[in-house]
């Protein structure tokens, strides 16, 4: 079977799920005739028709709210935020309405909100964000953020089949840069399970999305230059977090770096560090370190963006500091 890109893997999941279940449908801005800003939904309109691939007005509240209403009635909408930055427009209805619906009113919201996320692409402040932390903080939502093409497909299928709202972050840097052959058959990756991206014994890097690849680069570098064995845990799901996998790698290497592209303060690295502190304190040989973006809006110029976002060299420095502690 031929290799396909991360982006094509997402599309393949959408097509397979829409073929499998007539209740699955797509809504979003420019997703139909145009195929989406990044062409994730290219070809879906032709294949499934206007009633299942719906071009909407520029109305994130309406898109998410209507998905919730359709979800109550048994549909399984998959809605696109043209850029995930615009999910902020739907923050009220996602956190106040969707996230609480099952708990306060027994109303299911089986829906997926997906969109291109993340930086390293010279997108500037409003086309580069990683807003996952705000939603992880909201009980009632699930959040996934795949780093590989296989996981992009398998997690999308799991998200569509999930009976609750899943926010599906797609890293736009990875859309066309990585490829893989898809596992045969009905490939579903369970939500809430991390993936060991690289085995190691000296230091653990806990991360997700595009920085998984930076962590792997750094691991190669310190292995070659320092003889260090670095383990990389790809979280894949951010809500719920795979505590078992996190604690297992902590207990294995006893030195932990939490890495993400999102900003530092209030980012998910703080939550992971706290959980490690509560559950694995006596297993640690060094303080848990964080490598994250600086706490500022993401600037446009390459010289600025590259300085603000975590780079492989930052990770190498942190790993060396942990190993030497």
């Amino acid at each position: 079977m031929a290799e396909i890109t991360y982006l094509e893997a997402i599309r393949e999941a959408l097509v397979e799920e829409m073929d499998r279940d007539e209740n699955v449908f797509c809504m979003g801005e420019d997703i139909g005739a145009y195929g989406g800003a990044f062409k994730v939904t290219d070809g879906l309109l032709k294949r499934f028709g206007e009633s299942r691939v719906i071009d909407t007005p520029i109305s994130e509240i309406a898109i998410v709210g209507a998905a919730a209403g359709a979800g109550h009635m048994g549909m399984r909408p998959v809605v696109e935020m043209q850029f995930i930055d615009f999910i902020a427009n739907a923050y009220d209805i996602l956190t106040n309405y969707v996230a609480t619906a099952r708990y306060r009113a027994f109303l299911p919201c089986p829906m997926v909100v997906r969109g291109p996320s993340g930086g390293y692409v010279r997108g500037g402040p409003f086309h580069s964000q990683n807003p996952e932390a705000g939603f992880i903080h909201t009980p009632g939502l699930k959040v996934v953020y795949p780093s590989t093409a296989e996981d992009a497909k398998g997690l999308m299928k799991a998200a569509i089949r999930d009976d609750d709202c899943v926010l599906f972050f797609e890293h736009k840097y990875l859309y066309r840069r990585i490829k893989a052959e898809m596992p045969a058959g009905d490939h579903v990756v369970p939500i809430g399970k991390a993936r060991l991206a690289r085995e190691g014994t000296d230091v653990s890097i806990i991360t997700y999305a595009a920085t998984v690849w930076k962590a792997l680069e750094a691991a190669e570098a310190v292995e070659k230059e320092d003889g260090l064995s670095v383990e990389v845990l790809d979280l894949r799901s951010l809500a719920p977090l795979d505590d078992d996998a996190i604690f297992a790698t902590v207990k294995k290497t006893n030195r932990v770096l939490v890495l993400h592209e999102d900003t530092r303060t209030g980012g998910i690295a703080g939550e992971i560090t706290a959980r490690i502190n509560e559950s694995c304190f006596e297993w640690l040989d060094a303080p848990v370190l964080r490598v994250t973006a600086h706490d500022i809006p993401l600037p446009y110029a390459p010289q600025l963006e590259d300085f603000v976002l975590p780079q492989t060299s930052d990770i190498v420095r942190a790993v060396r500091r942990l190993a030497a502690y």
């Binding site: 449908f25 009633s51 299942r52 719906i54 909407t56 007005p57 109305s59 994130e60 509240i61 309406a62 898109i63 998410v64 709210g65 209507a66 998905a67 919730a68 209403g69 359709a70 979800g71 109550h72 009635m73 048994g74 549909m75 909408p77 009220d92 209805i93 106040n96 309405y97 609480t100 099952r102 708990y103 306060r104 009113a105 027994f106 109303l107 299911p108 009980p139 009632g140 699930k142 999930d162 009976d163 609750d164």
Partner: protein, 404 residues
């Protein structure tokens, strides 16, 4: 007179004197609006209601008011643990509009639409348990007041951020259309919610998609303390329909038959594929935003004037006596039935248990079924089944629906 009053000559002298809010129906936009031009009484949708159905309208309005009066008593006894929201003086707009729906249709009420929920099958016992935060309330003590719903009975509970239910109901009616179901949605917003982004985005999306949705703007004069002049520069809320390219209709919200008429016409149009209608119902909020609100911002005499001259139940009693030939004994029998039902529901609600603390952790996701208590919270692992419904859930008293 070129245009017909909402309910004919009956209305004059009752509604219009008070604040000028009691205007009758006026069409503002789009072809369908022409249907509001002079219509013989025999062609009004309400002319198709049976005498029993018209008496039912009174029953539902009286039940709404009596139930709220009981809630006031319970509130003063501190048995209502949160705020209490009244719909005094607005019973006609809630009841008359919900009465225009079929059972299979779905509405989403606002805080002053207790009457609409009762018509749709919510029970007084559920309302009382809900206000009293009982463990067997429809939300098991998780949500307040009339914030609950049941899609089987055809109502979806509101949330406090205003306007959000408009896009949600757009999604509900989008589903009706995708499945080719012969069903209609109705969503209520207040005058204040028309200022929100959610209202705008939701009604615009529904209009573009020509969804079978009726949007009722309940203009009761105030959003908390804010009068409508500070809410909008539009001359009237119904004018907003023009901007969305949909029919807009305005009616006297304190005339239950006029409310039924405009809603039924909009519902029929939606069912026939005619898309969204915006209805403005003019009424008046005689109590504060909630029971704690002393209404210091209301001009002197305004509330008393509405109470004396434009009470929807008093007005309908005149119609019942003069046009339906209802006798004092008939009316007293309905009042007695309402009183007995409210008493019985109160007795039952008082007996209801409060929720168990551990039940708080159940049901945030479909899976896992229960969150584990944090280590510093002692307790057993037992909690209610996530799929279990409280006793009385889904009760539909078809004899009370009043419509087929």
């Amino acid at each position: 007179m070129a245009k017909k009053k909402g309910i004919g000559s009956r209305e004059s002298g009752i509604g219009n004197g008070a604040t000028g809010n009691g205007r009758s129906s006026t069409a503002t936009s789009a072809p369908a609006a022409d249907s509001r031009l002079p219509t013989p009484d025999s062609r009004r949708p309400s002319a198709g209601l049976t005498r029993d159905q018209k008496l039912d309208l009174y029953y539902w309005m009286r039940l709404t008011r009596s139930l709220e009066e009981r809630l006031v008593a319970l509130y003063r006894q501190t048995k209502v643990v949160g705020g209490l929201f009244r719909s005094l003086g607005q019973e006609a707009d809630a009841v008359g509009s919900a009465f225009a729906l079929e059972r299979r249709d779905i509405l989403s009420p606002l805080i002053r639409n207790l009457g609409a929920m009762l018509v749709k099958g919510a029970t007084p016992l559920e309302i009382l348990r809900q206000y009293m935060a009982k463990g067997d309330s429809p939300t098991r003590g998780r949500e307040l007041n009339i914030h609950f719903g049941d899609t089987d009975r055809g109502f979806i509970g509101q949330i406090s951020p205003l306007g959000d239910m408009v896009p949600v109901m757009a999604g509900v009616t989008l589903t009706f259309r995708m499945r080719r179901e012969d069903r209609v949605g109705l969503v209520y917003v207040g005058d204040g919610a028309t200022s929100t982004g959610a209202f705008h985005e939701g009604i615009n999306f529904a209009a573009v998609q020509r969804l079978p949705l009726v949007v009722i703007v309940e203009n009761n004069g105030y959003a908390y303390s804010t009068p409508i002049e500070k809410q909008t520069a539009a001359r009237q809320f119904v004018d907003k329909a023009v901007g969305y390219g949909i029919p807009g209709v305005k009616a006297d919200g304190n005339d239950v038959l006029a409310v039924y008429d405009v809603t039924k016409e909009a519902v029929d149009r939606a069912r026939a594929g005619g898309g969204v209608t915006l209805i403005e119902l003019t009424t008046y909020r005689r109590k504060g935003h909630a029971e704690h609100d002393n209404q210091s911002y209301v001009p002197a005499g305004e509330i008393d004037r509405w109470a004396a001259e434009n009470d929807p139940i008093d007005r309908y009693l005149v119609v019942m006596r003069e046009e339906l030939g209802a006798t004092d004994a008939e009316i007293a029998a309905i009042d007695a039935r309402v009183a007995a039902e409210v008493d019985a529901a109160t007795d039952a609600a008082e007996q209801s248990p409060f929720p168990q603390p551990l039940d708080a952790l159940v049901g945030i996701y479909a899976d896992p079924p229960a969150e584990r208590p944090l280590w510093f919270r002692e307790g057993s692992d037992r909690a209610v089944d996530v799929n279990e419904r409280p006793e009385g859930w889904g009760t539909w008293q078809s004899s009370r629906t009043g419509n087929a």
